[in-house]
Amino acid sequence: MRRELEILAQIDDFLEGRISKEELAKELEDVQNLGEHIQTQKALKVAMKKDAFMQQSKNSLSKFKLIKTVKTALVVITVLAAVIGVFFNQNQNANLTNSNTVKEKELIIAISDSLIKTQYFEINNLKDTLIVTNEGIVFFIPKNGFITGSSPIYQLEIKEALSPAQIVKGGLSTLADNDLLETGGMFKISAFQAKMKIYLNDSSFIDFFVPTTNPIPGMQGYKGELNHNGEINWTKPKKLENPLTPANIAHLDFHPPKYREYLKNKGWMNKRKSWKDSVYFDLSQINTSDKLYKVKDTLFNFTFKKLIPPHRIKSFWNSTFNHTLLATKEFENRMPLIHEIGDERILNLYTTNLNEKLYKIDSMAIELAPEEFKNEFIDWYCLKQGKVPQAKSTQSLMKLEKALKISELRQGKLKTSKKFLCYRGKLMSWDLFYYFNIDVPLARRKAIIDNDNARYKRLSQNFEKEKTTGSKLTKAHAVPIRSHITIKIKNAEQFKRKMCFAYLLRKDAYTFEKLAIKDGVLNIEHQNLKNYNLAIIGLNKGQHWLLIPNEIENGSVELILESEGDFNKKVNQIGSSNRFKISLTNQITKANKNKSTERLIEISIRLQISKAIYTYSIDTVIDKNYINVYDKSKFTIQTMDYDWISRRAAEIPTKKSNEINFIKGFLNTKEYKINRFTKDRFRVGVFDDKGNDVLKDKFYLASRKTDEGTRQQNISFGWSIKDEATLLKGIYNVKLYYDDRIISSKTLKVK
């Protein structure tokens, strides 16, 4: 540092009391008029403080004047109408209290405040501002959102805890009184100007986006109230708004994943977007065979198994559809799935219902989606994502896009998912200065899904049963055994009070139950401990001590010093949970499959019974001598009407065909969607009276197609008899299978 700056530094140290007058004189003995330097520097310091004081005072004066004006008005109004005046007074005072009152200094300080690092942001109240925290939480702060003094500049202090390691190191738990909550993340925002707390205007709010790779439906926002120990209890849950995340549609990516993959392999990903788009839209030479869509272009040559024509994508991928649900991150997230299915009808649901809430369109898509893709739409549906919020300016949209991009990059460090998913919500003035937690009560989570619709009935029946036995979770965890475990921590005395604690972390949910350690002893009284992992933590002077026992049992343990990286890794490993989501999805799939299976078995049985009862119900007669005369002997499968009242199909086909060559089977359209993607699941068997399937021996498959041009409800199998083959006289049973189940049976007589 230069000599002049050194002089300033030394005088600063003296004025702050870090060095004595004698020491200063010794250090600066070569400086002339040292006294004057000191006085100048002192005056500058005082002037800065006075300036800040003056601004504060002016703010206080404004508030004082406002109160005075209101009081004067009240006097006038009271004279005119006493009752109304009282109401106005109450109303006005409440507003002032909410928006303007500076809260008294809290005597109780949250333990977490000292454990969680603070991030600082300086904000200009005259501009819309977007900030991205270290873990990727995005906050949108509107201009003129805060009530500030004469200066528009203020400071935000943010604390966050998203990962298990952060939650545990921050001493946070997910308990609302005695109810266990499953969390999506926690944070705290405080706002200051010149060391004074400031609040939002009554009509303003802060939008937040908390990233997640495992969105759980039914999440609410909880407020963290401090108890006398400085621990946080979560209270006052409020529903999270679930608006969509708007974006400029030109910046979204609606290309099929396969196209993107192709570009990547060719090394063309960095080409201009307009180039990539124009090539994609020009893919016109699409040839289809039975299974594949071949695309040949001067540059491109690849195949799709399923395809939505590029011109369909082009029809909505333009600025006309900005500020609609198509111009949102949420819709962008659904496009890869829509491309994979390749069914334009599903795309149409989204493009033709722009005024509908997104989750309602998802529910329609569930109906149309093939079996293997239904669960993905169910997951989207459960998130209950709504509509596009009020339009933001183009500039704000650009800022939001940039912020979300940064959030994705920051998330990319920890997460593997490429989709940007987040919990959305709003913070009002009274949410500031408190910890905010996004949770759903574990017990309620299943019930929320159950309430959605009848396809989860099986799950809710289980849930209802478990309620009466005292357990709040799935059948698998239903046994309520209460355990008493005592664990002595040998090296607990080296940690300060409250810096040594334990956590019970559910194996199948993102919950954090904090347990106190008293005098080096951890007492656990809990039911179903086998559903939990235990982590015992000690924090001391920036060091992290940890023990994760293999079993939760009585004994004596010692915490081990870990590096911060290892600590985070180990805690994140046992704390993170995709498992509940997976197990829930499996149960839903199982429930659905069970339903389908039941119906199929029922139909099979009925068919078999009918054959026994109506043995000689002959559907088609073929003359052996003429079997090769006809061009083809076809087994044509057609759909039948579904009886919506009795919710059953007319299962016993009895109609005889007027055409000798055709055997008509009837299908239940509800169960068996017939289209080019499902035709592979149908097959035919032709059984002689000995029960041998003679189809492959005697016939060859000439064609298999659906009537896509019409109702997409008919499927035709063209099995032609082989040239040298013949059918012996007798009764043949022609069966139609869907996967492995008989769904139709016909009798063919060869005479």
Binding site: E4, A47, D51
Partner: protein, 175 residues
């Protein structure tokens, strides 16, 4: 609240007590307006007076011999006079000698800070923010480095002293 309680609370920087000082404002303002002060001038003078009062109360050697209201009144009158010397003869100071002495001493000291304040205001915005962050908000160098995007706390410290040097130069020019 009794006056003694008010003074004690003001010494303890109690926000509620500070807000109560504004009850004296309307009368003082109307007095100043009567003698030709503008509304803005009256507000500025009153804020100055508050600052001087708080400063004095925190000085262990100072003993307030009058009521808070009288002291504030006195400061405001003197302050106004010093701004508009020609109006001196029209304003009846009507204060006892010792109080006048205290007020005059306080005002003289305040004049130095006024010049320093002007020098501070000549700095560019970033310098003002940086110095405020350290001297007023009490932030540490590490925090300041983070907020202002400096490479390290040492860089932040050097920058702080550069800003202080600039302010000092402005102050010396004024003086």
């Amino acid at each position: 609240m009794k006056e003694t309680q008010l003074i004690e609370k003001l010494k303890g920087n109690n926000e509620q007590a500070f807000k109560l000082l504004y009850k004296y404002f309307p009368k003082i303002r109307s007095y100043l307006l009567k003698f030709g002060a503008s509304k803005q001038e009256a507000e500025d003078i009153y804020h100055d007076a508050l600052y001087i009062l708080i400063n004095k109360l925190n000085d262990p050697s100072f003993i307030l011999t009058s009521s808070v209201n009288t002291f504030l009144f006195g400061i405001c009158k003197h302050k106004y006079i010093s701004l508009h010397r020609e109006k001196k003869k029209n304003i009846d100071l009507d204060l006892d000698a010792s109080l006048t002495q205290d007020i005059e001493a306080a005002l003289k000291e305040d004049e130095k800070y006024e010049m320093a304040k002007l020098a501070f205001q000549k700095l560019d915005e970033n310098c003002k923010k940086l110095l405020k962050a350290f001297y007023v908000d009490g932030k540490r160098m590490k925090q300041i480095a983070q907020i202002f995007g400096f490479g390290s706390d040492k860089v932040a410290k050097t920058q702080k002293y550069r800003c202080l040097e600039a302010a000092k130069k402005f102050y010396q020019l004024k003086a």
